[in-house]
């Protein structure tokens, strides 16, 4: 097997206000959920590492969790500039938030760095009774999108999750990790490689599940 590798990626969360972006991040990073989470002002920053044993690699996510209000939109390019991955989050109980997530994907297609991994994430999956966004609608949207983007752009990941129950949250980040181009950034971040060993131990402890 090859030498253990360490890579660091910038990930940004986009989506309408109050769809649960911060809650997803907190579930992923701290495995907690808080009904009374303060609304994000500007943006928040957190990190989390996961390991991919099959390729002997540890991945660190530098997560930028942006504020969702429409008027912050002009700031978004600052956050997705240099980003390796973007989570466009909607709330499955709100059609409007799904439309907003589609807008974000459109903007990313136009302006984001080449090769950015995009995930379309439906949150609040625990609220099945209030569902407004059907899986079928999302699938048909994704088909159109794939045709539009073409093969070279890479697939758009789609998953649903519940930050409240924790269901599906880890899957999102694992799927993104799988889709990230490991060779290139790993080679770039030679510096980070040195701290690899300590890092990795820590990670395996944190995330026994992957």
């Amino acid at each position: 097997m090859s030498e253990p590798r360490f890579a660091s990626f910038k990930l940004v969360l986009l989506g309408e206000s109050a769809v649960g972006k911060s809650s997803i991040v907190h579930r992923f990073v701290k495995n907690t959920f808080d009904d009374m989470r303060e609304s994000t002002i500007g943006a928040a920053f957190l990190t989390q590492t996961i390991s991919l044993p099959e390729v002997n690699t540890t991945i660190k996510f530098e997560i930028w969790d942006t504020a969702g209000q429409e008027r912050y939109k002009s700031l978004a390019p600052m956050y997705y500039r240099n980003a390796n991955a973007a989570l466009c989050v909607y709330d499955i109980t709100s059609k409007a938030s799904f439309a907003k997530a589609q807008d974000w994907i459109k903007e990313l297609n136009r302006q984001a760095p080449e090769g950015i991994v995009v995930a379309l994430v439906g949150n609040k999956a625990d609220l099945v009774d209030e569902r407004q966004v059907d899986e079928a609608d999302v699938e048909s949207y994704l088909q159109d999108l794939r045709a539009q983007r073409g093969e070279s752009a890479g697939d758009v990941i789609h998953l649903e999750c519940s930050a409240k129950s924790g269901d599906g949250v880890l899957d999102i980040f694992n799927s993104i990790a799988q889709a990230l181009p490991l060779e290139e950034p790993a080679a770039k971040s030679q510096q980070s490689k040195r701290v690899d060993l300590n890092r990795r131990q820590q990670t395996t402890l944190q995330l026994g599940c992957c």
Partner: protein, 711 residues
């Protein structure tokens, strides 16, 4: 010597009208109505009872009731004025007598009088009054007697007693029933004390031995729970005691404003384990306090505040030496006691400094309110200090006269600098905060009577899509604003806190007031923090601020105090891009003024703009960990000539204090992580006077920096 100098307290009281007094301008002629009070406990009545009252007494005309209430209010106002006038005449006469017969100098008398601290806590005053009433009825009705020193914990002046007797009249009956009830709770208290093994005076009413702890003051202490929460041994008495508090509260003078006002300072300490601002303590990370950059480790741009922190270090050194040395217990004890002495000394120094500042503030406020009394209509509209204390800079203004700079035309900012220095050194003390915020923000000039209600109504039934968008966003954010604070979120009931509604109303009214600005995430936390500052001020005897006035304060801060970008309001949607450009300028300042930190951040690839923008949009609520410090930052903004530069200076000062921690991180994400922790209240402790003086020195230096044009 002018009398106002000798009795500044009196002067303040008779000259400064409370904000709500403005409503009853016409009222002072109606003093003959004093006996026709209807309003004593009206705010406690149910809607049905009030409706009944309106029907029976006012022929179903609610206006008549309102007019009556207003008249009552002004009648009381008049009574107060008369009382104050009488008090001041009596004191003047006493002063003369002391001088003439007692051979006491005016200064000496003044000093002693000033040493008498006015009791601002209404519960204490009321319980003293209850005690008084009980003592009277006791001595009349039975042969039970209380020892003299127990009857009244503090000797009261004759004047106060006169005042007491007068105010007693309208609610004499209640007082009696309350006193019986309180006696009951006293009896219970005695039982509890014996049951939990606390010392109980064997015969309460015959106690003569002054050394034995009298139970009365202790009971009084329980009544005064609003100030410090007292461990009660038993839940049922908890309720009992609270109800007696309620009782005594009900007897305070009725004011129109207290009807429907949700302010409830008692909440903080009795129900939850909350800090003075109402934050429920759920911060397990509290111990994670990071190292602050202390001043002597760095090239200091200012010289002043070093002395105290220096001696603090010395003590640390001594203690460290003690731990390391093994040369016997005696030496250790000696060193320890020396350290303790030093600590005591430091503590004394600290107390003396704060005392001195407080005195200076008191002097400033007294004199300002005395000599700043309006001479013309124009003066009235401008207020005493005026927006950003402009009146201090004005030639010939009464405030300038009071500082004695009237003739020094060359130095026209001296009096302003006095205020500035006080704000930098100590910040506005809580008890003067509400008054000064209202003045310095310019809210006093902005307030238009009735406008707030109109705006509120507008915001409710609107069909304007921009306004609807703002209101929808507000609704999303309300329960996410300071959720760990009991004023906004009642964790026990999982429902809204007592000031949740005010937060909502003010944000909505603002959106209706300035639909182009509407609502921006960040405003909620700004307003929330302002409200906490106002609460604190109020609980320190600062003036009461109604929701309406809070609205105007908020409007003024947003529109006149925060920076503008190309004439666009700070929170305007289009200003966001300009804010971003400005954050690039900050990077240049940082590189110039803290090159080491600048290089370090650059080498790690930290995107400073992302951090800075969040700090700015949140008006620094995300940049500093303590509300105390944040309030001082707001104080400083209120007198800032150029708020944009002030924002830069504050940002640089924050980086200055975080410099050591930041330079210690070898990875980018640790830096972002550290900054992310600040907003959760887990940042380093920073002394506000140090912060302000560093910021002031950066502010000066900023002007000397030539900026490269952005590429």
């Amino acid at each position: 010597m002018p009398r106002s100098d000798l009795f500044p307290e009196l002067a303040v009281k008779s000259q400064s009208k409370p904000i709500h007094a403005l409503r009853s301008k016409d009222g002072y002629s109606s003093s003959q109505e004093i006996n026709g009070l209807v309003s004593d406990n009206l705010h406690n009545s149910s809607d049905a009872q009030i409706a009944k009252l309106v029907n029976l007494k006012f022929n179903s005309n609610a206006f008549a009731l309102i007019r009556q209430l207003s008249q009552d209010l002004s009648a009381k106002e008049t009574e107060l004025i008369l009382l104050r006038e009488e008090k001041s005449r009596r004191e003047n006469e006493l002063l003369r007598l002391c001088n003439e017969f007692g051979n006491l100098s005016y200064v000496e008398v003044d000093r002693r009088l000033n040493a008498l601290k006015p009791e601002k806590n209404v519960h204490k005053v009321v319980s003293a009054m209850v005690l008084d009433a009980m003592a009277i009825s006791d001595s009349q009705g039975s042969n039970e007697r209380l020892p003299k020193d127990v009857q009244r914990p503090k000797p009261q002046s004759r004047n106060k007693r006169t005042a007491l007797r007068r105010t007693q009249q309208p609610f004499h009956k209640e007082e009696k029933s309350a006193s019986t009830q309180n006696r009951k709770s006293l009896a219970e208290a005695t039982d509890i004390r014996s049951s939990v093994g606390l010392p109980v005076s064997p015969n309460l009413h015959d106690t003569q031995n002054p050394k034995e702890e009298p139970i009365w003051p202790r009971w009084l202490h329980w009544l005064n729970q609003s100030e410090e929460s007292v461990d009660l041994p038993n839940k049922s008495t908890d309720i009992q005691n609270k109800s007696s508090i309620e009782n005594s509260r009900n007897k305070s003078v009725v004011e129109l404003e207290s009807m429907g006002d949700s302010f409830s300072p008692i909440l903080t300490s009795t129900i939850f384990d909350a800090d003075k601002f109402g934050f429920v303590n759920d911060k397990p990370l509290q111990n994670l306090k990071c190292k602050t950059s202390s001043l002597q480790d760095m090239p200091s741009p200012v010289e002043s505040p070093v002395s105290i922190s220096k001696s603090a270090t010395e003590i640390n050194l001594t203690l460290a030496n003690v731990e390391n040395s093994e040369s016997g217990k005696a030496l250790t004890t000696l060193a320890l006691s020396q350290s303790l002495d030093k600590l005591k000394l430091l503590n004394e120094q600290y107390l003396a400094t704060s005392e001195m500042h407080l005195k200076q503030w008191d002097i400033l406020m007294r004199q300002a309110q005395t000599s700043g009394s309006p001479k013309s209509d124009q003066d009235v509209s401008l207020g005493t200090f005026g927006l950003k204390a402009q009146n201090l800079k004005k030639q010939g203004s009464s405030l300038r006269k009071m500082f004695g700079h009237e003739d020094e035309l060359s130095d026209d900012s001296k009096s302003f600098k006095f205020l500035q220095r006080l704000i930098y050194e100590s910040g506005i003390p809580p008890k003067h905060r509400n008054y000064l915020w209202f003045e310095l923000s310019g809210a006093k000039n902005r307030a238009i009577a009735g406008e707030y209600q109109r705006l509120l109504a507008n915001s409710q039934g609107t069909s304007d899509p921009t306004l609807i968008e703002s209101i929808d966003q507000i609704k999303l954010d309300l329960h996410r604003t300071l959720p760990s604070n009991i004023y906004f979120n009642n964790q026990k009931t999982n429902g809204p806190g007592p000031q949740f509604a005010a937060l909502k109303n003010i944000l909505m009214a603002f959106a209706a007031y300035e639909p182009n600005i509407g609502y921006c995430q960040g405003m909620n936390k700004l307003l929330g923090n302002v409200m906490l500052g106002v609460n604190e001020s109020h609980s320190h005897g600062g003036s009461k601020v109604s929701e309406e006035n809070l609205f105007w304060l908020y409007v003024s801060i947003v529109e006149d105090i925060l920076p503008c970008y190309s004439e666009l309001n700070f929170f305007h949607p289009k200003a966001m891009m300009l804010l971003r450009e400005d954050s690039l300028i900050l990077r240049q300042y940082l590189n110039k003024l803290m090159p080491q930190l600048g290089k370090h951040l650059e080498s790690l690839g930290v995107e400073l703009e992302l951090v800075v923008i969040s700090w700015w949009i949140g008006v620094f609520t995300e940049a500093v960990s303590s509300i105390d410090l944040w309030l001082k930052l707001l104080d400083g903004l209120l007198i800032a000539d150029n708020p944009r530069i002030k924002f830069h200076a504050y940002t640089l000062a924050a980086f200055y204090f975080y410099q050591r921690a930041l330079c210690g991180f070898k990875e980018r994400d640790s830096i972002y992580g550290f900054i992310n922790l600040l907003k959760t209240g887990n940042g380093p402790n920073i002394k506000s006077n140090e912060f302000m003086s560093i910021a002031a020195s950066f502010e000066k230096q900023i002007h000397t920096i030539e900026l490269k044009s952005p590429s």
